[in-house]
Symmetry: C2
Subunit: 212 residues, 2 copies
């Protein structure tokens, strides 16, 4: 039987707290500037008439830039300052969940710290792991940063509007993903033009309904 470390134990408690309220939750990871906040804003815009979305924002510095954008979009947001740590952990999420109006929420999105390495190692208790790969980053990231791809439930390929201006070989990229996580649900999108966002929102809606 697996001896749960302290982080996993708290993650388990977070999951219980979310399941009690029938809230679906995702851990949104990606490198800095790949479009995590932009995707959340597009998601809110597409779903705000159908559900209430709470957002937990993780940053290493005491800034509220991202949380302010979510609040301005009309949804509750909690800013977590990791104090320099390069990832969120389950204890930070436990505290942040207590600061959200869970009783009104259908979906909780955790925007993790921008980092393609450490966040993969810390279970937060959320239901699904979602990674954003950004086209300008290049097509070799699954080969160079494989660990975070292994534990994913969904992959978003963002900034596809930039494909004409960068050298990104989609086939090579997809082959790398397939090696690590065969059959991974993948949504190519542009948070700038809105292309592809609908399919992602449909996937979310389905999971939120299943959680009810």
């Amino acid at each position: 039987e697996k001896i749960l470390n302290a982080n996993d134990q708290v993650a388990g408690l977070n999951r219980v707290k979310l399941d009690e309220k029938r809230i679906f939750s995702i851990n949104l990871m990606a490198s800095p500037g790949s479009g995590k906040t932009s995707l959340i804003l597009q998601t809110i815009q597409g779903l705000n008439t159908r559900m209430q979305i709470g957002v937990i924002e993780g940053d290493t510095a005491p800034v509220t830039i991202d949380a302010d954008k979510i609040l301005a979009a009309g949804m509750p947001a909690v800013q977590v300052n990791t104090g320099g740590e390069c990832h969120l952990d389950a204890v930070m999420i436990d505290r942040a969940l207590n600061a959200l109006p869970l009783v009104n929420l259908d979906l909780v999105i955790v925007e993790n710290v921008g980092n393609l390495i450490c966040p993969a190692a810390f279970n937060l208790g959320t239901h699904a792991n979602v990674l954003i790969a950004s086209v300008p980053e290049g097509d070799d990231k699954p080969y160079k940063y494989p660990n975070i791809y292994r534990g994913l439930d969904v992959l978003i390929i963002n900034k596809i509007d930039l494909l004409p201006y960068v050298s990104f070989n989609m086939e090579y990229f997809q082959q790398g993903v397939e090696l690590l996580n065969p059959g991974l649900v993948t949504f190519p999108v542009s948070c700038k033009t809105g292309e592809g966002i609908e399919k992602w929102i449909d996937w979310l809606q389905l999971r939120v309904n299943q959680q009810k």
Copy 2:
């Protein structure tokens, strides 16, 4: 008197090793896919008739994708596998320096692991810290990931060819940098078109000459 931690002590030895051979060295940091390897290749192309450049490549996975590109460009390269660690440290650099033909080299470039957070905390013994900020990442990174900006000697703003296609406010970005590191030497470049690379190469050439 500052009690040096073990990493700083080894960093000091690395510096001695480089100074003995009159080699100038830089620690090149940035988030994943910002163009670290592309900048090194542009640098080799611009300087290969004037000097010998050794490269130390850091990656979390056992891949040699970046080192192979450097070798193909005709310069010696050593691939360091950090074993999952999200940054290079001074001990890894000590070992890698031993694997380079230092007696023939004028410049050593360390390509750190793609990460905007942890690499800032580990002194490698190199002479200068260089960060690449990539335009598609957005203009708010100095505000959101301030720590790595504080200890820099040079800032490269890469992928300026993409400025027409992303919302990047150069003034807002520069103001953020100025708050953290007033007067920081900054080179806007495109590793794709070659724009601005010459000024960066001139700066390097000057520092390599001073080290002699």
